[in-house]
Structure formats: C-alpha cells, structure tokens
Symmetry: C2
Subunit: 386 residues, 2 copies
C-alpha cells in the first residue's frame, strides 16, 4: 500500500425528500447564486422544490451552463457574482454545472488579475467561495470531490483544476431525480463511474487489498444495477445504488494508497474537445484499447478483475486478462454505448496525430500509472480506437 | 437503501514515516497536552519520534490512561488542561487513549457544572477542543469517528458519548507501529474490527448493494491478512491492510443507508464492566450466540456472508447461515480468542440475570436492528454464551 493523505469534508444528505432540508445547510442571510444547466430542472419538479426550500433567502439564478462548462459563459456568471455581492453558490445539476460552480468558487475569491490563470497555470485552490450542490445527474462524482474540468471553446481545450478549498460544503443526493434522466445520460453516467474506478484500479498490484476490493465492489454493483436502471429509471433501489456508486467512484477513497492511471481520461478529453463526443463515450472508446496496448503492465490486475467482477475462473493470467477487456467492451455495448471513434464521426483520420502532437506541445511526455505512455504511444492507442 | 447523512472531516495521514509530519497538522503556538497509555510508546520509539516532531511546541504530557478509559483518571487530566490553558490535545495510543481524549475535548469546552452529565445524559457534542491522534493500536476505529466509550470504575459501568464536534482533526496511521504490538492485542484488534463490520452488516437486506459489498470487502481483507499479521507483525503490507480495515470498519461509511445492530457491543460492554474481559473478546463471546438466537431475523444476510466471505456455495439458506456462524467462531479461535464466558471466569453464574436487570433498569427495552431484543432475550443470549 502506498503512502497517502485523505480528507473529504463534504456532507452528504442522501435519500428521498432530502431537498427539503436544503435551507438547513446554507448559512442564514446568505445571498445565493443558483446555477443550473439547460432547464431540465424546470420540467422534472426539482426547480420548484429548490425554490420552495430557499424561500427565505435572496437567490439570483444563472441557468444555461452547457455540458463541458465553458469558460466564456462562466465569466458572465462571475461578473454577476461580483456585482451582486453573492456569497454562496448552489449548483443544481450534474458534473458540468458542479464543475462550473467550482471554477466560480475559485474565481470569486481569486486575488490575481486574470481568472484564466487558474486554469492555464492550474493554480491550487486552498479557499473558495462556499458552495453546495443538488445532484440531478449521477456520473462524475464532482458532488463529493474537489476537482473540476473546464472547457475553453475558442481553443477546443479542456483544463483540469482543483484544490482542498473546492470540496462542496454539502451535496444533496435524492435518487428520485434518476427517474427523469434520459437513457443516453444514464448510460453515460454508468460508463463514466465505471471508468473512474478502472482508472484507479487497473494499474499494478501494491497489496492494497482493501482498496482493490472497494473498487471491485463499485464495479460489481454497477454491473448489477445497470440493466435495472436502463429498464426502469424509477426503480428507487437501483437508482440509490447507481447514485452512491457514482459518488464513491471518485471521492478519493479508492484512489488512496494505490497507483492511478488517468490516461484514458486525458486522451478522452481531447476527443470531446475535437468532436464534441460525450465525455463518458470517449472513455469507452479509449479505455479498452489502452488496456490492450499496455497489456503487459496491466495484466495481473486485469486477471484479478476478470475473476472477481466477471467470475472468470478458468484460463491463464493472459487469457483471463484478455477476456476481461472483452467483457468490459461488452458491458459498454450492453448500455447502448459504441466503442469505436468511427462510429461517432467520419472525420477521424489524423486524430491520433493531432492528439499526440498536442500532448507533445504541452510537455505531457509520460502518462499512466508508470508514466510510460509517451505521445507516440498515445498515437497508437488512438489509432486502435478508430 | 435507507435515508442517511454522512460527513467525516478527519484528515488521515497514512504510511511509513508520517509521524514526521505531525507538526504540520497542529496550529503554530498551540499549547498541547499529549495523552498516552501505559508507556509502551517509550519502548517502541514512538514517544521519541513524537517529541522530536513537536520540538517547537509547548507540550504537557499525561500518561497512564488505562484500557477502558476511566472517568476518575480523565478528570485529573481535565484539571491540568484548565490550569495550564491547554488548547490542543494529542492522543497517542489506541482506542482507549483516543476515547479518553474525546471525553476531554468535550469536557474542556463544556459549559455545564458537571462534566459527568456529558456521559450520564449522553449530551451531543457539537464543538470540542481540537485534537489529533497518532494511532498505535489498530482496532476500534476511534481515530476516524466521533464516538467514545468511557468507564466509571466505581459503578462498573460503561457509557457511550459523541457528536459531530468530536472527530479528530487529523489522525496519523503509520503501519510500522504494528510490529511492536503483542499478539493478544493484535488478535483483539482484528476481532474488534471484524465485529464492528458485522454489527453494521448482519441485519436485514435493504438493497444497499454497495454498502454490503464494502462491508464484505473489510471482512474478506481481515480474513486474508489475519494469519500474516499474527505470524509476522512486521509484515508492512499486511499491517497496512489491517490498519486501514480497522479505520474503515467504523468511520461511518458502511453504517449509512443500512440498519445497524450494536446489541453485541451493548451486551459485551457489560462483560468488560463486570469481569474486566478485553472488549474484543466480549464481542466474540456474544456475537455468534446472538446470531444463533436471532437466526430467523438474520439468516438472509448470514447466507450472503457465507457465500461471499467464506465461499460457501452449497446448501439451503438455513444451512449456509448456520455454517457462516460456525466459520465466524472458527475465525476467532484461529486468532487464539476464546468464545465462551466460562473460559474467562469461573464466576459466571447469574451473569445473564445481572445484565438483563441492568438493561431493564436503564430502560433499554429493545436492542438490535429491529429493536426487538428485550432484556429477557439478552438473558437468553448471555446464558448461551456461558
């Protein structure tokens, strides 16, 4: 087990009707900016529940935060936050709204001249404007971690940011929200959470037996509930497990004491930036090919995953490991997720070189848990994904 | 899955050499009381490491906190805390020292006349004096939760206490401490953590699939590492898993969203109060008998546990459940732990009636996850344990 530090101070309120308790979590007399996305909360009743819970607060709304939250739009919100002396932020949405709110939390208290530096220089944020979340789309785990990914549309780039000051003070997780989520988003959420776990698990063994089993627990549970959720998103028990799995997949717990990969995410982000492919789908395009490409580095864990998650008991380590990659792809397919770049765009020729060049330009010369995935390897992996 | 709230703000520093970082976690110019137990830390080098790390602070020591921390002794420490204007507490030890420190954290800021009321009236503590811990004996999980158990020797009673103000600010977990722990304490630690998990797991199913699997993960890992630890406590990897399992067994995570039992602890506490039997051993005396007595209530989970932790795939639910209880006892025996009260004392006759009467006097009329274990049931369970 590797040396680690772990702290996660976010308070979770989980279960039916928890939105009612929203006002208890926000300091009295706060002036709140409520941030949300495309307006689905106005159709599914969540908007009304929140407005009702916050009736004793002054609330300014900022809707329209898109998937892959854009810097330019967030800067409009920042202007209002400053002009109106907002002192509490409330994200109502999925990972994009929450990530956008984290950027604003950081930018609102940023002492430098240009908030763009937070992203460009990846400045660690030790203190942000306090904020909470009401999760409406389980997937990214942003509701219980301190990281965010922000897009700059004009340059087709995605930037990671974060710091210990960016944990939500609270997050409200009511699994009833799942019933109104479209199938496409449900499949994305399951795929995203599943890949988050793989990024922290499919590395090399370090005798972190407990972390391995926790990771496998999340994978097993996602595999178990996926068909139930897709068949009937109003299945409250399946939705509860789906929601809690997504949170636990990226709240730091399974990440600590083990090597982490994240190369699939870093390559996948480029596919979103270039083609607008849903984040989760980019992970399903890259992940299995990355495992095939780095097979020798990962085969021990792949074989363990084969045994424990997919119940594959027979065969050599290599056979089990190969079978596990196939099972992973099959799982994504079972969710209706396509796993080849050419199934998303006809314009894929040259993508491998573009991404590889970008990584070279940025000086990203060694990705993955062994820091041995060079830009030339990225090129090969993306080509395998065509 | 049941509705729940979860928040755990304790920062963990885990791994080899983390004691060196102690000073980084305590505010500069704090006046510290360092609390410890019988002095084993002076033999195993931990005392020196800590004194070295704290050389820039003013530190007053208070040693001699016994197993099952006693109110009378803690009151002596409280007097010094007040006289010396201590403003930070550091527990260096296992569950007893940490629990004692939690009582002091609460008592130091208590505004009432008599700190005894904190225990007698079980007053919820929202704010305590800040404290951290250096864990030297993995077992109770007190290093990452907000509860404590305090003994009053003169009345042979144990009292629970706690509240959101009693989480340690930080806990340092260096698995190297395990190498100097005597076999008896290692066996106790494994048994204590194992039973903590069972108290939160061996109830009735609520489709909390992820929590079930997390609980099983801890059990599986304890079963896996127990022989390694007992054979060689300086096996760092086994010690790491042992230590992290103990913490995760009682930091709130597997407790949330599921029914909780805790009757084994409540009955076991009385055996410690009456006979001075090690806490963990009282759990091994009571637990398996309680499962036999409440077999119908628990057999579904017992059978799931049989399958997943003990790999018992054949037989009916009842057969698997019975076999699981036997496997649990066998596991305790494999640690050198005796599971009958008569193996600890010759003076056991009448114990069942004494405990049952105490529960009646205290108004504890319904224990367990269904609140259906009455004092008369407690009497039967204790008799089965003779």
């Amino acid at each position: 087990m590797l040396k680690f530090e772990f702290k996660n101070p976010t308070k979770i309120r989980f279960g039916k009707g928890q939105i009612e308790n929203l006002a208890k979590e926000i300091p009295a007399k706060s002036k709140i900016m409520m941030l949300y996305g495309g307006g689905s909360i106005k159709k599914n009743g969540i908007y009304e529940q929140i407005k009702n819970a916050l009736k004793d607060f002054e609330v300014i709304e900022f809707g329209g935060i898109p998937a892959n939250p854009e810097y330019e739009i967030l800067m409009q919100a920042l202007e209002i936050i400053k002009k109106e002396n907002i002192n509490y932020l409330l994200a109502v949405g999925g990972g994009s709204v929450i990530d956008g709110t984290k950027f604003l939390s950081a930018a609102a208290l940023y002492s430098g001249d240009n908030p763009w530096d937070i992203l460009k220089k990846n400045i660690r944020i030790d203190k942000g404007m306090p904020f909470g979340t009401v999760l409406t789309l389980p997937a990214t785990g942003s509701e219980m971690n301190s990281g965010a990914v922000i897009t700059r549309a004009e340059t087709q780039e995605k930037f990671g940011m974060g710091g210990p000051g960016l944990f939500p003070e609270f997050s409200i997780l009511d699994p009833q929200v799942v019933r109104s989520i479209p199938q496409r988003q449900l499949a994305n959420g399951i795929t995203d959470a599943y890949t988050h776990v793989l990024e922290q698990y499919m590395t090399f063994p370090t005798q972190a037996f407990l972390q391995d089993r926790f990771a496998e627990s999340i994978l097993q549970t996602l595999v178990e509930i996926a068909p139930r959720i897709l068949k009937d998103p109003s299945d409250y028990e399946a939705a509860s497990n789906f929601m809690w799995c997504c949170t636990m997949a990226l709240n730091g717990l399974i990440q600590k004491g083990v090597p982490n990969d994240w190369a699939t995410h870093m390559i996948g982000h480029e596919l979103t930036a270039l083609f607008g492919i849903d984040h989760a789908r980019t992970l399903s395009i890259i992940g299995p090919n990355l495992y095939n490409y780095k097979f020798e580095d990962k085969k021990e864990k792949l074989a363990q995953y084969a045994e424990r998650v997919w119940n594959i008991k027979d065969g050599s380590i290599d056979e089990k490991a190969h079978e596990a990659i196939k099972k992973t792809e099959d799982f994504f397919h079972s969710l209706g997720i396509k796993t080849k770049l050419s199934e998303y765009t006809n314009d894929y020729e040259g993508t491998a070189e573009i991404i590889s060049n970008r990584f070279t330009e940025r000086g990203w010369l060694g990705l993955g848990e062994r820091r041995n995935i060079k830009p030339s390897d990225v090129e090969e992996i993306v080509k395998m994904s065509y």
